[in-house]
């Protein structure tokens, strides 16, 4: 894991004092709310329906046991005893007092954490593959690259008042676990002629106008990457629309002028920026990479899966929530934060502490937050899986539903969010409860719910997506089918007229039944949908 040096620490410490100063000026009336808003937003502080919400950055979703424990401490001391893990691999607290925020940041800084640029019209937390460093299919660990980008983007003087927020994802495998092409910039680290570099995709995103990012450059060598990104961002900062907040994301710019013209503009700028020497020397990426060296794995034999059979509940979890590790004898555990009937992504302080303990004891002191709002223990010995599962079960964290229909991504919705048109959480609870008994049979089925058109719940990328809208003052839900945020990226299509809360659950049931009737051997829902199209599902839903 990355370890701060004196420079990183001094910058984060200075940020705490700066924000303390800004909060004091606000409380003293020297700043209007309008002037304070962009300042607090740049530190992840939102004013929600009931209170301030503070979003804490978990850079590329990686943290250690000590940091995880601190998140529990904050939940207990400053919030109501729980936190909410987000689709940007961060955590947010929904009941924060403005006057407490500087103290929370000071506590975070002591554990090398911060809330820098977790909101605002700036470059947000860099997201990455939650299996980085453990997946067998990666070219290299993408996290050193993400850390390089974290530092480059932190207080970037030119890109702090962009037209709109800006999200970057970095992966280094062909399997895309980070929805890379649904980001403003998606980077896929690849090797060409022995040199590492990045494929660059620009202009993806969800929201009102979902777009899959086109490839803008097939390869930028590592030692020119920051120059290229600086050029890509500068073109956006200069030409991105500022007349309409809903058309201000880079995807609209790329769409309106076309990928070819955007690419040409970036190349012109890139040629200029390359002369400035803004890329650090190779030694900097090497310095960071050394901190992400694989942990000292033991040479242990692989434990045959059949050994799990003595406990059927464990066997189901072992099959569903444990993934292959590149090191023989080790496994990747995904801890589901989607208990049936619970709030997707929420964890209590006690549960957060349990996961911190397990990371320290069984996972080389490492955890990851996933964009699907679960937690990963990346480096667990197969021989320890049963013990880990037992501890998780005791804490209510052993739901065996990774990538199943109850592993729902849901935004906070009308229960918390001032933008929402409809509730997301109660609907997620209803769906999980209805389908849990048959979810193993339904297989991989990613269901995502957004409470409004801003699409924080990634409904466009759901195999099944649900969008909450306001129809003449009542909550109404539209159903989408066929989206994917993975390497087979696609955008879901609306089935037809929307439903009320009970109606949408029934509609999903008809979709599920039709899938079961139509599927061929081993076919996922998404594959069946792609093979037979929307029409059979429409018939099933609307009769």
């Amino acid at each position: 894991m990355y370890k701060y040096d004196e420079y990183d620490q001094s910058i984060v410490d200075a940020r705490v004092e700066e924000f303390r100063d800004q909060v004091q000026r606000r409380l003293a009336g020297q700043l209007t709310e309008d002037q304070f808003k962009p300042l607090r937003l740049m530190n992840g502080l939102y004013l929600q329906l009931h209170a301030y919400m503070l979003r804490v950055a978990v850079p590329y979703g990686t943290l250690n046991g000590r940091q995880m424990r601190l998140l529990a401490h904050i939940a207990r001391t400053y919030d109501r005893g729980y936190g909410h893990f987000t689709t940007r691999q961060n955590i947010q607290y929904n009941w924060i007092k403005l006057a407490d925020a500087p103290d929370i940041l000071a506590e975070l800084a002591k554990a090398e954490m911060h809330a820098i640029q977790t909101s605002g019209n700036c470059i947000r937390n860099i997201s990455s593959d939650q299996f980085a460093g453990a997946a067998a299919d990666e070219v290299t660990d993408p996290r050193p690259w993400a850390e390089l980008l974290r530092q480059w983007s932190t207080f970037h003087p030119e890109f702090t008042y962009l037209p709109r927020k800006f999200k970057i994802a970095v992966i280094a495998a062909d399997e895309d676990r980070a929805a890379m092409r649904l980001h403003d910039i998606g980077l896929q680290i690849t090797r060409r002629d022995g040199i590492l570099g990045a494929r660059v995709f620009v202009g993806g995103g969800m929201g009102r106008t979902p777009m899959i990012a086109p490839e803008i450059r097939d390869f930028v060598p590592a030692d020119q990457l920051l120059s290229y990104l600086e050029a890509a961002l500068r073109v956006y900062n200069r030409y991105g629309r500022r007349d309409n907040i809903y058309k201000a994301r880079i995807k609209i710019l790329v769409h309106e002028i076309g990928a070819d013209r955007y690419r040409d503009e970036v190349e012109l700028e890139f040629a200029q920026v390359l002369t400035l020497g803004i890329d650090p020397p190779a030694a900097e990426l090497a310095r960071i990479s050394a901190m992400f060296a694989p942990p000292a794995f033991d040479a242990v034999p692989s434990v045959p899966h059949e050994l799990a059979a003595h406990d059927p509940d464990f066997a189901i979890w072992r099959t569903q929530n444990v993934s292959a590790h590149k090191q023989p004898g080790y496994a990747i555990v995904t801890v589901s934060l989607k208990p049936i009937g619970g709030i997707p992504g929420d964890a209590s302080a006690d549960q957060i502490n349990v996961m911190a303990d397990l990371a320290e004891r069984y996972s080389h002191d490492e955890l990851r937050v996933t964009h699907a709002q679960n937690i990963v223990l990346p480096h667990v010995r197969e021989a320890d899986l049963y013990a880990v599962w037992q501890a998780l079960a005791d804490a209510g964290l052993a739901e065996a539903n990774l990538d199943l229909i109850s592993d729902i991504i849901a935004c906070p919705g009308l229960d918390y969010c001032s933008l929402a048109n409809a509730r997301s959480i109660p609907l997620a609870q209803k769906i999980a409860t209805r389908f849990a008994p048959r979810q193993q049979d339904l297989g991989e089925l990613k269901l995502k719910i957004s409470g409004c058109i801003n699409a924080c719940g990634h409904h466009h990328a759901g195999h099944i997506g649900i969008l909450g809208v306001d129809r003449k003052g009542t909550e109404n839900y539209q159903l989408l089918l066929g989206g994917s945020g993975a390497e087979d990226v696609s955008l879901g299509k609306i089935t037809g007229p929307g439903f009320d809360e009970d109606g949408i659950v029934d509609a999903i049931e008809r979709v599920a039944d039709r899938y079961v009737a139509e599927r061929s051997e081993g076919e996922r829902f998404l594959d069946t949908y792609r093979r037979i199209g929307m029409q059979p599902f429409k018939e099933a839903i609307y009769g």
């Binding site: 020297q30 002037q35 530092q151 500068r234 500022r242 200029q272 400035l276 020397p281 030694a283």
Partner: protein
Amino acid sequence: MADLAGDTDNLLRFRDDEVHDEPAMTLDSFVADPGNASAVRLEAGDDARALLPFIDRLMLVEVSFPSFRDGRGYSSARILREAGYTGELRAAGDVLVDQVSPMRRCGFDSFAPEQPIDQSVLRRSLDRYDDVYQKAADGRVPVWQRRHG
């Protein structure tokens, strides 16, 4: 034409030379007939590159910030400095105290904010960060260079 007399009431300069009091022309009128003019005002959406053929003779470029949220002027400043412009680069308009520091990093060395800036807050803000991560237009040594010499 901007009312410079009004704008400069709150003028903050980080330069030792005399204030250049030639009224700034709009970019359009300057490009149409540069004459001997050496002061130009860029609106937020103006293309700073149009000034590059003239940077050796320009003494004042004023960049307008119609709203503090409009960040286009930061890129205008970088483009001018990267091309070698050494004259006065002034941020004018809705410029807030917390923005002076990043603007300095982008190459602005003079400020004409609509609202007066509290000097003590500004001083604290400018002194806040001993280290910066990026190489920008202000010559500050980025952290990676300190790390690797």
